[in-house]
Each structure stands twice: as C-alpha cells, then as structure tokens.
C-alpha cells in the first residue's frame, strides 16, 4: 500500500531501456510508480512503490482497465506521466517503404501515446495538475530518409505534445518533450558492468566521434527533472540533448 502523501507517476514502456530507467529514477525520488508495458518489469516490481501493469498500449480498453486496477495508487490522482512507449522499425529505403509499415509504426508510437493521454488526463486533473513528458527523437527532423516511418511518428508525437500543452493549459498540466540523442542500450553494452560502462561510453564518444552516447540512467534524470517542472513552468517545449542534430 503506497504512502498517502507520495506523488504518483505513470510511465509507459517501462520494461526496459529509457522507460525502465525513468521508472527507477522516479522511485528514487520518492514517487509511487505505475509502469505500463507489454512484458512487465520483474526487477522494478520488487520495489513496493512500483506497480507493474502488463498492458498492450494499442488497446485503450486494456490500458484503462490496467489503470483502474491500480486505483489504490491513483486515488489522489497522478502527478507525472512519461510518454515513452514506442517501436522503432529497422531502417528501410524510402523508395521501397510499404505503407503498412509506416502506418503500423504510427499506430505503435502515436496511437499508444494518444491512448495514454486520454486515459491519464482525468487522473492528472484529479491531482490538481501535473505533467506530460514525451520521449522524442532527433530523427523527427526528417533528414534521414531511411528512417522515415519512425521519424514521421516521432514528429507527430511532437505535435501531440504541443496539442496537450494547449489543451490542458487551464488544468495546471504542462507538456514537454525530451530528445535524448544517442542512448546506450542494454543490448549494446551487454557484458560490461555499470562502472565500466561510463568509461567505455566516454572512450566511444572520443574515439568514434559519436554524438554524445550516454547511458539510459542519465537520460532518465533529465526526463524526471523536466517532468517535475511546476505548473507555471515551461510547456510545449522540446528539450534537445543531442549535440550534432539540432
């Protein structure tokens, strides 16, 4: 049972990567966290303040039911929503891209975000306001044609973020986006321990001229800090942490 005074956060796509790291950072900052993902996160679920909700975000009914199942946590409302869940298909030549791939990518990224917003807006209002923080991508600028499907979906997410900032301005709800730039994933760094990771990332950045590759935990700190902006703070903004793609 969560403490009555705890702030509450909802994070989508919390099974791994940036979503898992953000859920962990919010837990560290004293939030009760509801994680929504298809696979769940057994590691985070070991924390009593974490509620592991397995849900396919493409299905609004399932998401609504999952949040209703966590009604004890959301009784006072929700303070922070991190819109993170998404799918990035493999690069594909623009001239050969089949529309169903682009449409499916749009549904997986934008459809799931819209569902999350529609299901959580009443909870943010119940808490008297809060924040939506979108996890965006520098690719949304559109200059990588082979990533068009993903880039277009991420560009639409930016539009959705701005629409939220306008729609909920009177409710004390802000909406912003973080574009983290290159992030080291568990897959690329598998086999190394955390202490070595930071050094390897620094060596990679220096040696290969990579655009500031960083661990998911660092990105999670930025996301959480932006999610904690006050109701009269910045809204409708894109915070770009990339160093080469602006």
């Amino acid at each position: 049972m969560p403490a009555e005074s705890a702030r509450v956060a909802v994070v989508s796509g919390s099974s791994s990567g940036i979503g898992a790291a953000t859920a962990a950072e919010l837990l560290k900052r004293g939030y009760d966290v509801i994680g929504l993902s298809r696979r769940g996160n057994a590691s985070l679920a070991a924390d009593r303040a974490y509620t592991d909700c397995r849900a396919d975000l493409r299905d609004p009914g399932v998401v609504r039911a999952a949040l209703e199942g966590a009604h004890e946590v959301t009784a006072r409302g929700v303070d922070v929503v991190v819109v993170n869940a998404g799918v990035s298909p493999a690069p594909h030549p623009l001239t050969e891209l089949a529309w169903p791939v682009a449409a499916s990518t749009y549904e997986d990224n934008v459809g799931t975000a819209l569902t999350l917003i529609q299901c959580t807006a009443p909870l943010l209002r119940r808490a008297g306001g809060g924040s939506y923080t979108f996890v965006g991508a520098s690719l949304a600028n559109g200059y990588e044609p082979d990533r068009f499907a993903y880039a277009a979906a991420k560009a639409a997410l930016t539009t959705l973020m701005r629409a939220c900032s306008a729609r909920f301005a009177g409710d004390g709800i802000i909406a912003n986006e973080v574009r983290p730039g290159p992030v080291a994933t568990p897959m690329t760094m598998a086999g190394l321990d955390e202490a070595a990771n930071a050094q390897v990332l620094a060596a990679l950045n220096a040696g290969f001229g990579i655009d500031w590759l960083k661990p998911a935990g660092t990105v999670a700190e930025w996301i959480t800090t932006i999610a904690e902006f006050p109701a009269n703070g910045p809204t409708g903004q894109v915070f770009n942490y990339s160093r080469k793609v602006l």
């Binding site: 690329t188 760094m189 190394l192 070595a196 050094q199 390897v200 040696g207």
Partner: protein, 78 residues
C-alpha cells in the same frame, strides 16, 4: 607483445572476412578495424583474456587505441 595481446590480435582479425594487417601500433579505430559496437565487444574480450574485470580508469580511448597500448596498460600492468 604478450601472448594475451597476440590473442587479441587474432580476435580482431577474426572480425573480418578478408585478411587484415594489424600492427602493434595500428590505430584500431582510425584504421576502421573496429566499429563502435565491436569496440565494446573488444573491451569484453580484453576482460576475458585478462581474467578479471578492468579497472574503469584504464578504459580510455588512448589506452585502447592499439594492441601495444592495450598490452602496456592492461596485460603487462597486471
């Protein structure tokens, strides 16, 4: 070079389908012998050959740039 550095040379050579020339002082990065992902795998391979985890302070781009540098800062320093 130590046997471990020689073994590492074989490991790097094994990443390529065609024979490659890897000198003791060949820049493994600028020469294109390693991609960024393979660089991470090489650090893991160095730990395996070394028999223990590396001191994070040792993992710098200069200490990992050539077989000689790796040999001196890791294998011979053991």
């Amino acid at each position: 070079m130590t046997d471990k550095a020689t073994a590492l040379r074989h490991w790097v050579a094994g990443l390529h389908e065609q024979p490659v020339d890897i000198g003791a002082d060949t820049d493994l990065i600028r020469s294109g012998l390693l991609t960024s992902l393979q660089f991470v795998q090489m650090v893991i391979e160095i730990e395996r050959l070394h028999g223990r985890k590396l001191d994070p302070a040792v993992i710098t781009i200069e200490s990992m740039r050539s077989l000689n540098a790796i040999d001196k800062t890791v294998f011979q320093a053991a």
